[in-house]
Every structure is written in structure tokens, then in C-alpha cells.
């Protein structure tokens, strides 16, 4: 059983479209992170959110942490082929000593 459920699992869109990826749990997290992973590489940290209701923007990416700190979303505006990859959310439950990862959303942006 996954602690964090991500949806959708797969997403294939055209360049220029917008998309949202969701990360949900019944557990409360002290912090939540989003990573992007390309084939043959380890995940790379995009953002960390720690406050319920927090919104962070990173160029065309907008990250939101739910008010109850149980869920998060990643919104990409005007997707580009370079955004293609596996997007993973990860939550720290209590004391930061480890993060639990979702199963990921595989995004393919077609030119």
C-alpha cells in the first residue's frame, strides 16, 4: 500500500498545454517535496513545501501544499518537451528522518 498516491500515472500532452499532477494521502506530512527524474538518473529536487496552504512558483511550475498538509499539486503552464520526465512527490511524516515517495507521474510532452 502506497502512503502517497499520485495521479495521473501517465500523461501525454502537446507542447504548450497546461497540466496538473496530484499527490494525495490520508497522512499528515511535516514537509513535502517534488522531484523530477530522467531515465538513467537519480531524482532531482524541485521544491520543498512545509506550510499548509503554501504556494511556490518555479518559472512555469506552481506547487501547492494542501491546507491540511495531506496533499499537494504540481501545475505546469505551457509545457515544453524539456519537461518530459517522471515526477515524484515525497512526504516526511514526522521527524524528517525519511521521505516516503509516491509511485510517480510519467509525463511526455510532444513537440
Amino acid at each position: 500500500t502506497q502512503l502517497l498516491e499520485q495521479s495521473p500515472q501517465f500523461l501525454s500532452i502537446q507542447e504548450g498545454e497546461n497540466l496538473t499532477v496530484y499527490c494525495n494521502s490520508s497522512s499528515v506530512f511535516s514537509s513535502l517535496q517534488w522531484y523530477r527524474q530522467e531515465p538513467g538518473e537519480g531524482p532531482v529536487l524541485l521544491v520543498t513545501v512545509v506550510t499548509g496552504g503554501e504556494v511556490k512558483k518555479l518559472k512555469r511550475l506552481t506547487f501547492q501544499f494542501g491546507d491540511a498538509r495531506k496533499d499537494s499539486s504540481l501545475h505546469i503552464t505551457a509545457a515544453q518537451p524539456g519537461d518530459t520526465g517522471l515526477y515524484l512527490c515525497a512526504g516526511a511524516v514526522i521527524n524528517f528522518n525519511k521521505f516516503y515517495f509516491g509511485s510517480g507521474t510519467k509525463l511526455n510532452v510532444k513537440p
Binding site: 502506497q2 537519480g42 525519511k98 515517495f101
Partner: protein, 110 residues
């Protein structure tokens, strides 16, 4: 070093053999983590080191898996008597606040 280094990058081994996977963390990062990623899946936590002690080994799937760490430096993950279900990418991360991952070791048990 500048990043987390893992070796080997690829390992093919016969069922029943032992393997050792190595992780060199970022200098100064006291926390080190091992995760396993099966094809198309998310990351499965294996073990966490704080310095050279392992306060959380809860993710090790069986007693065939063990890990050690020398001081606040290199860590080795050992899998004894490998099985086909051990085939996966083994990722190491060191942490200051967010994780910095290595590129992983792709283990294939044939």
C-alpha cells in the same frame, strides 16, 4: 565531492551470488539513505544512516540485505544470495535538507 557518486552504475549477477553496491555521499552530509526503484515505480525506502549509525533499517526487505557506513563517508549496501526479484535500480541519497541523489546502480539478477 560535488555530488553523490554510486558504483558500479550497472551490475549483472547470477542468481545466488552476493553483490556490493557503493555510495560516496556529498562531503559534510551526515544523513545517508538507500532506496530501491523497480522499473516504472516510485522509490522504496531501505535504510537511513545518521553518521555511521543506522537508526532506521525498517525498509530492508530481508536478512539478505545489509548496509554499513564508515564514519560520515562511504556506505556499502550488500545483498547476499541474490534473487531475481532483487533486480532494480538502487539509489543512494545524502541529505542536508532535501535529498541529493546519485544516479543509481542498476542491478540485474539473471
Amino acid at each position: 565531492g560535488a555530488g553523490v557518486s554510486q558504483s558500479p552504475s550497472n551490475k549483472v549477477t547470477e542468481k545466488g551470488k552476493d553483490v556490493e553496491l557503493r555510495c560516496d555521499p556529498i562531503s559534510g552530509h551526515t544523513a545517508l539513505y538507500w532506496y530501491r526503484q523497480r522499473l516504472g515505480q516510485g522509490l522504496e525506502f531501505l535504510i537511513y544512516f545518521q553518521g555511521n549509525s543506522a537508526p532506521d533499517k525498517s525498509g530492508l526487505p530481508s536478512d539478505r540485505f545489509s548496509a554499513e557506513r564508515t564514519g560520515e563517508s562511504v556506505s556499502t549496501l550488500t545483498i547476499q544470495r541474490t534473487q531475481q526479484e532483487d533486480s532494480a535500480v538502487y539509489l543512494c541519497a545524502s541529505s542536508n535538507y532535501g535529498y541529493t541523489f546519485g544516479s543509481g546502480t542498476r542491478l540485474t539478477v539473471v
